[in-house]
Symmetry: none
């Protein structure tokens, strides 16, 4: 009826991302996805064959989107310290603006990365972003602007950590601390603190 296969497929995939992000894999419901996509449950299987494969497609989509977003990052022209700061801000902003990405990652970790481990295209979707930071670190160390002992991968993990937790755990945090993490202002304050931490950490101890 719609005769626009690409569009239908896309609507389903987007509805699925949102559903999986909200309910996890086990909790996601086919009929809800169909309804949100203004399509039918049948079409979901027509395009994606099974819930698991739809979930895999959703994961690949959100990782792909991250990779696409990071293309816009131009760190080469920046001072090493400024580059680390820009990188951190980019990552944190991405998490904050894409809570469904964070949620899907949590879901995938619950499953012990079952799907990710067996995906063929996922590795290549993730490699570039770490490479980006590696380049900055190497350059900064060479110029004496970043600590020599710095390990780029560990630095990446720490930067990610600082932005991830507040998005991932925003609901329990505000329930438990009464701290309104989701609000712009507190988010910003946290990000400022975190940036201070990162920069203090990467600077050489002159």
């Amino acid at each position: 009826m719609k005769r626009d296969p690409q569009a239908t497929r896309k609507r389903i995939l987007e509805a699925a991302i949102s559903e999986f992000a909200q309910y996890g894999l086990a909790g996601a419901r086919g009929d809800r996805i169909a309804q949100a996509a203004q399509s039918s449950e049948r079409m979901v299987y027509y395009y994606f064959d099974s819930k698991e494969l739809l979930y895999r497609a959703a994961l690949e989509k959100v990782y792909g989107d991250l990779r696409d977003a990071e293309q816009a990052l131009a760190l080469d022209g920046l001072e090493p310290l400024a580059a680390v700061a820009a990188f951190s801000r980019f990552v944190w902003r991405y998490y904050a603006q894409h809570p469904e990405f964070v949620s899907l990652l949590n879901t995938e970790n619950l499953r012990q990365a079952q799907t990710l481990r067996t995906s063929e295209q996922l590795p290549e979707l993730v490699a570039p972003i770490v490479a980006l930071l590696k380049a900055v670190v190497a350059r900064g160390q060479h110029a004496g602007k970043l600590r020599a002992e710095l390990d780029a991968v560990r630095l990446y993990v720490l930067i990610a950590s600082l932005g991830y937790f507040v998005v991932s755990n925003q609901h329990t945090l505000s329930a438990v601390l009464g701290y309104p993490v989701a609000e712009q202002r507190s988010m910003q304050a946290l990000a400022d603190d975190a940036l201070g931490m990162v920069l203090a950490f990467v600077k050489p101890l002159d």
Copy 2:
């Protein structure tokens, strides 16, 4: 079977924690819990009335365990900086040694803290630990050993962030980075870096 009601109840609760941690709320299966508890599905309902209530009990249990563990923390006798370090190490070690706690938190955040928000005993289970850090910060600032602008709640969030992410996302991290996060040694290296970060951050900029 076993004429020891308390023991049966306990086995069920423990099996439930492990099941919820592994599969989330929606993915958890009553029969698997019953089997792991060497009991019957019927008993699960006998003691906990419903899956939701069992889940709530599980959440309360893991939060209670954290509260109990933190009793052992004696920060009062320590220097402010040492106290911050001890606090951080405690939190991180707890996360690392209790991945089921981390996993349950993720599950609860997926549900937008639905259960936690309506729990009566949960707030009081969490308040003390933040209070602990608050005391240290106040004392340290008074003694001029910690930065005056430091906000204890935000500091708590940042410390938690640094320990949480690697446990929560260990599976995707090792799948995607090939970084063996779960191993003792890499965990330790990360913790060392993180501690460096925290201390550099809290110290006054003399």
Copy 3:
């Protein structure tokens, strides 16, 4: 509600035999079985776990019934020739009176005996009846009343053949030949001819 588990289970199994006999494994419908058994589709799964296992149970039941029926056969007191006749008549009568057995066998052959081959109890359900004929043949050959070259297994197959086809293929036969195979009289005439055949075949050519 019925609180008579054995009876419910039995009604379901009988309904299943009749359904499988009428529609085959693929064509059998769970709801029809449930309805015929005056139970619910859910109960079918409660007792038998899956359609396949229900089918297996059905097969085992009809083979078991045949084995039970054959207990009544007392061939030892008979003359060898009379024993062969009695055996043949028993087999043919059993097929004629249990078309659902014949139909299930056809279904199982369509499936290339997939289920039967992997059944543990089926072999032992079938062995005795052939053993019965073997004993008769041995006795008859020893007494010079049956042809020395006779192979008991082959004889069994031929006897079974003569009774099976008319039951198994009665519908196509009457459609195609206009021969009312299902009627008592034609059935009897065929059985008489068949018995003549068998006896002429087993007698020594004096």
Copy 4:
């Protein structure tokens, strides 16, 4: 794809025969047929309109093939006894070499010959072969070489029986008796015995 409509139609029909023979009507799958025919599911409907009609076409095809094969049978020149033997061997060989025919007959009987009974061309496909035997019997009786009481239709049924069962039930037989019915040698031994039976039966009791 292939601009050869007749060839496509033929491939589909052949694939259908094989599919119906292997899985029955209910168990047959449109997509498997399409794939085996190197065509598309859509084409199956294009040429045959529905599964039922495709099944009917399959039945008509296998009956037609039998009728064609039997044209080669020249019984007129043979002695009555030799003619009966030739007829029997032909039928048995045909069954053995066309298990898909046997399987389709079983499937059709499961359905209580629903399709066959309402077919217009099927009766005329089957009549000739029985007529063939009738002629032989009449001739033989007239010449005193065949028993006078012999009924040709019943004789046909018995001959068919003897060849059908081993093909139709080969899988359960070998599973249950451990008798390798499908093998050439055992098949031949059975056919020899069966021929002995038939001839002993039709001969006058001089």
